[in-house]
Amino acid sequence: MRKILFIEDEESLQKAMGDMLESKGYSALGAVEGESGLLAAKREMPDLILLDLILPKKNGFEVLEELKNDPSTKNIPVVVLTNLEGSAEVERALSLGATTYLVKANYKLDELLAKIETVLNHHS
């Protein structure tokens, strides 16, 4: 079973995504802070990480940078999932090594699942 870690401080989003992933046969893991998200990534070694940018403790950019600097986690694809869509944020996330950058409000859950599957298939 493929593991997906969702680092997101909004618990209602966490739950909807987690329930949807589990209903499609994935193992859904969640973290509501940047710091605990990093620890969960290192401990669980998920197949993919969904990462919000505005996070308490450590923000999404810091988490992304640490994930990509750590040899054990640098190959895990990271999909940035946020409601920020300024070109500066998009460029920064992609230059730090995010696989793709998606805006939450623009996607339905099933459309996000299709994107996740594409990224997973590309990295498998």
Binding site: D9, E10, S12, L13, K15, A16, M17, D19, M20, S23, I54, L55, P56, K57, N59, N83, L84, K104, A105, K108, L109, D110
Partner: protein, 322 residues
């Protein structure tokens, strides 16, 4: 051709309706670029005429030079006023753009949550949705997100009223202790989920003279901040005292505190300290701006003292009841 000239002249004449144009910018006449530009034009024409008259009547060139110098200084001052007026208009426009950007982000989060929750429920068939308890949990979250959006929009409208100088208060005798008790009841679940314990010490029963709904709004903002910026929970003390003919209300937490470098900016509209973002990602940075505007307009004062990682005390005063 003649029609085009007439149209141009009509639009020019309309442009000369300075009172209307300046009212649209929401600035006074002496801060309105169009008006100042007209004044500068009049001064330039007068300056040329005066210089001509002075130069032709007096033989001493010093007098003509002195008049030119004085008029140049006046022109320089008016030019400076025009630049400042343009800066003001540009800043107002920048502020509105920031406002729209922050508020749309504030609304996008609950809107995404509602979208995903409903999307998940709709993606399931009748059998999967038969568990009423599970469906109700989703609906409750959707309801909460809707309340959050209503609150954000209300704050947005309040900021607009403040900026348009249209905040109308209806002051009456209000018991701050009673209002605080009602706010604490409303925040009971949020406080308990955040391990925050409130203590209310009301030393005075003297009512304040204030708009009850707005006073409640200020107390809600300050109580909400005390919970949000108390990571790991702790005790929050609210005291109400009578002091110097006013009612003093103050709230002390033992939370994150505010760094010295940010302390002068906490009442600024949209300001959110980087330090605050480490603890609390939700927020638009307008709660304290609204609180300050309400308290000032009510004839009171508002302030705070804070120590990093030790906590903050926010206080306000209101006139005593009649």
């Amino acid at each position: 051709m003649s029609n085009a000239i007439l149209l141009y002249m009509a639009s020019w004449a309309q442009g000369l309706n300075l009172k209307k144009t300046c009212a649209e910018y929401q600035v006074g006449l002496w801060q309105c670029p169009q008006f100042l530009f007209l004044v500068m034009g009049i001064v330039i024409i007068s300056a040329i005429l005066v210089t001509y008259v002075v130069a032709s009547r007096y033989e001493e060139p010093e007098i003509a030079s002195l008049v030119v110098l004085i008029l140049t200084a006046i022109l320089f001052a008016i030019g400076n006023l025009i630049v400042r007026a343009f800066e003001r208009v540009a800043l107002a426009s920048k502020s509105k753009s920031e406002f729209i950007s922050i508020m749309s982000h504030q609304l996008r989060s609950p809107l995404s949550a509602v979208k995903w929750q409903l999307n998940f429920l709709l993606s399931r068939d009748e059998r999967e949705n038969a568990d009423f308890g599970a469906v109700q949990k989703y609906l409750q979250t959707v309801y909460n997100q809707n309340e959050r959006m209503i609150s954000s929009v209300n704050d947005l409208l309040e900021v607009n009223r403040i900026e348009d100088n249209d905040l109308i208060l209806r002051p009456i005798n209000v018991s701050l202790a009673e209002v605080t008790r009602r706010v604490l009841e409303e925040y009971k679940n949020f406080a308990s989920a955040s391990n925050v314990e409130f203590e209310l010490r009301a030393e005075s029963d003297q009512p304040a003279f204030a708009d009850e709904e707005r006073a409640r709004h200020v107390i809600e903002h300050l109580a909400d901040n005390a919970i949000r910026y108390s990571p790991g929970g702790g005790r929050v003390l609210i005291e109400i005292k009578k002091t110097d003919g006013k009612i003093l209300w103050q709230i002390t937490d033992h939370g994150a505190g505010i760094p010295k470098r940010d302390q002068s900016r906490v009442f600024e509209k949209f300001f959110r300290s980087d330090h605050a973002l480490r603890y609390q990602t939700e927020g638009s940075g307008i709660g304290l701006f609204i609180a300050k505007s309400i308290i000032k307009k009510s004839g009171g004062e508002i302030g705070f003292s804070s120590s990093l990682e030790k906590g903050s005390t926010f206080w306000f005063t209101l006139p005593t009841g009649r």
